[in-house]
Amino acid sequence: MQETGRITGQQMAFILYCVVSSTGTLILPSLTGALAKRDLWISPIWGALVGLIALLLAFGLNRLYPGENIIQQAPRILGFYLGKFIGFFYLISLIILAGSNTYQYTEFIKTVFLPRTPEMVIMGSIIFVCGLAARGGVELLGRSAQFVTPIFILIFTILIILSIQAWDANNFFPVMEHGVLPSVRGGITQSLWFSELFLISFLFPFIIKGEKKMRWSLLSLFGVLLTLLLVNMSILAVFGIESHIYIFAFFKVTRYISYANFFEHLDAFSLATWILVIYVKIAFLIYITSLATAQWLHLSNYRPIVWPICLLAGGFGMWTAPTIFKLMTYLRSTGSCQFIVFLVIIPALLLLIAFFRKRMEVRAR
């Protein structure tokens, strides 16, 4: 047994929420804004549709092969060699995902807060903390997600409400000036983040029996949608059509908050709260990468390989992109293809094959 911990449905929902909305509030609005312009705030809705599909795919696979994640399911569906091959592809993608998220964190901290600190220190410190959490297992991840997410939601809500003074309602209009297309294009970028909801597949085996998985994951999706919607709205309302020129747009928004000559430049606070959720995300990614690697290699325990995976995640973080702009270009082009393939298309194909296999098995009987 590789993991004995169990989590509740609520903990699962909180983990998923952190996974999507942590980086979803970072460079995503800027990426989307470049494509969707004034319809920036509509894009998350299209993205959420893809998220829903990713969730349903995970649920479908889980129904056919309960108690297993995609790494274990693939060899059953496609046979040993092909399945292991797909599994390997997943391992690579997961580590790239972990690496690119670490890189986004590092770049953000470096650009905005600690310009003179070496990247290695920023990256190393977060990876160390997340590695420790990953070694603690899924129970620890669930509990810490459960603890930090309400704080994050509360403070971000307050920040958004405070930012209303800088809003200009005219920035919203005209809605859908160029038809549906710009918002859909932005939605494709958004769907990249929403499709990460498919990673629920790795959590399914650990959920306590009898929990309402569907309800909690839909709530999580809804929460993410609401968060991104509000964040994008506040960005659009403050910066209008130029929102995409700020890479870390939401933090720029919190900089504009000013009340009573005292509540000023609250970006340090929004950063502090944001670290809480990015920690959950990176720890979760390192955890599932280690777990998946251990399962792929049929190791009896995933804990010894957590630190090597951390090292790799750091390495991939450095290799993914030399600058944040390169990373953004990557996410817009190759990255979006890769992650959509990895999180939606392959699972969809697997589900299709599995469905026909099961049907044939039934018929053969």
């Binding site: 807060f113 600690l114 420790l132 959490a133 129970e139 669930g142 509990r143 430049h265 340090a268 502090a272």
Partner: protein, 526 residues
């Protein structure tokens, strides 16, 4: 390798010798029945208590015929009671008899007397201060509960004062403490199971719980951990605490300690287990969680709205007491833009003459504050106030004027100190004081990011910590139930507390019936 092996073997041998020390063997050896031969019994006791000059062997005849002997410690037993209620009736009035029931029922006016049959029980009784009555031709003895020693009166525990609430606290003798609990919970379901720990001290430890409420698993685990203890002496419950806690290397206390009777009683009613140690007024309660550590007794006695507000204030002060100095250092060193401009100017003016960086300044001041606190605690009370005055003058005023430290740093350190005094449980305050320093260093290196990473490390530790199987952050994590959260995020009024804390898995979850809220039908206002 080989040397290590030899060393380990030698160590094992030494351990073995320690384990096979006379006293531990003695206890086992003594678990044998008394002989029928009176002289043989006497000789065993004489040998055992050789060189104990304060032990009294008092030979006499029951009813002037049957030879008997009374053995007791001179200073531990009530001589007056021995004279009037034991020797007087037995020597002068009794019929010659050696039937235990006959003596107990008709001759001996001592209420807590009982028949014992082994040497072990006899020795235990004598060392506790009871008297043992040996009678000729009997293979049993009588244990007369006439121990008596001086004790201090029951008064309010000095370190846990309350404004509203009972003012009685535990004292050293165990039986008084058990009585204090029994006075509050008058129910046969309140159980008190006793065990003895310590090879030499043979300290009595009582595990108290309410049957039907407590989770049997927690109870079993408690006994399992207590029975494992093999130590030469238990002088304070702290000895036991360190042996039975879950994570020995955690900075956080995993067992609640208190001297207040009402806290123990309330915990028993919640389905927790109390461990009382003889000779110590400090009672341990397991399991405990972090939110419980932040609840004060008076929260439950005052009006619920006030209590809720106070609780939230305490939560913020709890956070401040670990993170405020680090936050200050991070903001001043790395994120000056977060400070309003006018404020920043005055900070800059205050710091202008200071030669050392803020981080070092804060660490020095924190250290000085801790030193002052420790000095005030250890010194006699009269000199203690002098230390405080000198400390306040020297550090508070002169240091600033001399340009050694800046005034804002002192304000922050003092505020942190005050915040840490609001933590209701003393043991938790200690852990916070300890964690403040690494956090200071981290925030001095990485600014607010360092602070957050440090807090996350603490959070990771707290999330993996358990107290007797219960997650340390319950009910905030794990299965969250509304009834549990009601007692953490709020202080639910008493008419609304239907359930016991369900994360403790009490057998009987229902605390009381619903519908007790005052309304027109129940005598309240509309």
């Amino acid at each position: 390798m080989i040397r290590q092996w030899f060393r380990r073997r030698k160590h094992n041998q030494q351990l073995k010798e320690v384990i096979e020390h006379p006293t531990s063997k003695l206890n086992e050896k003594l678990k044998i029945p008394l002989y029928a031969d009176f002289e043989k019994n006497r000789k065993v006791f004489k040998d055992l208590f050789a060189d104990c000059d304060d032990v009294i062997f008092h030979p006499f005849y029951i009813g002037k015929e049957v030879q008997a002997e009374l053995i007791y410690f001179e200073h531990l037993s009530d001589i007056g009671e021995i004279n009037t209620n034991v020797l007087f009736p037995l020597m002068l009035k009794a019929d010659p008899s050696n039937n235990p029931e006959y003596i107990l029922e008709r001759e001996l006016p001592v209420s807590s007397a009982k028949q014992v049959k082994t040497f072990y029980d006899c020795v235990n009784a004598i060392t506790c201060g009871n008297a043992i009555l040996l009678i000729k031709k009997a293979n049993w003895a009588l244990n007369l509960g006439i121990s008596k020693w001086e004790k201090r009166p029951i008064d309010e525990p000095e370190n846990e004062p309350v404004i509203r609430g009972p003012k009685e606290g535990f004292i050293e003798p165990l039986r008084d403490n058990v009585a204090l609990i029994r006075r509050k919970i008058r129910s046969p379901y309140l159980k008190t199971k006793s065990l003895h720990i310590g090879r030499y001290t043979n300290t009595q430890v009582i595990v108290s719980y309410i049957e039907g409420i407590v989770d049997p698993d927690i109870l079993q685990e408690t006994f399992r951990r207590l029975e494992r203890i093999d130590i030469d002496g238990v002088l304070e419950s702290g000895y036991i605490e360190e042996i039975i806690q879950d994570n020995p290397f955690s900075p956080f206390p995993q067992i609640q300690t208190t001297e207040r009777v009402d806290i123990v009683t309330a915990s028993l009613l919640e389905g927790r287990v109390a461990i009382l140690t003889d000779g110590s007024p400090v009672v341990m309660i397991v399991p405990v969680t972090l939110p419980m550590m932040l609840q004060a007794t008076e929260d439950y006695y005052n009006r619920f709205m006030v209590s809720t507000l106070l609780r939230w204030m305490r939560y913020f002060l709890f956070l401040a007491s670990i993170a405020l100095p680090s936050f200050y250092v991070a903001i001043i060193t790395f994120h000056q833009e977060a400070v309003p401009t006018d404020q920043l100017l005055s900070f800059a003016a205050a710091r202008e003459r200071i030669p050392i960086p803020t981080l070092i300044e804060a660490i020095i001041m924190e250290f000085a504050f801790e030193a002052l606190r420790e000095a005030g605690l250890r010194l006699p009370r009269i000199i203690g106030s002098a230390v405080t005055i000198v400390g306040a003058l020297v550090i508070g005023d002169s240091a600033v004027r001399a340009g050694l430290v800046s005034a804002p740093t002192i304000i922050v350190v003092a505020a942190t100190g005050i915040a840490s005094f609001t933590v209701p449980k003393y043991a938790l305050g200690f852990s916070l004081r300890m964690l403040r320093f690494p956090l200071l260093l981290l925030s001095g290196i990485l600014g607010i990011i360092g602070l957050m990473l440090g807090l996350l490390l603490i959070l990771i530790h707290l999330c993996s910590l358990r107290s007797f199987g219960v997650p340390y952050l319950s009910p905030l994590v794990g299965q969250t139930r509304r009834s549990d959260l009601k007692d953490v995020l709020l202080r639910a009024p008493w008419w609304n507390k239907k359930y016991r804390p369900r994360f403790l898995h009490p057998q009987n979850q229902i605390r009381q019936e619903e519908g007790q809220r005052p309304d027109p039908e129940h005598g309240g206002e509309s």
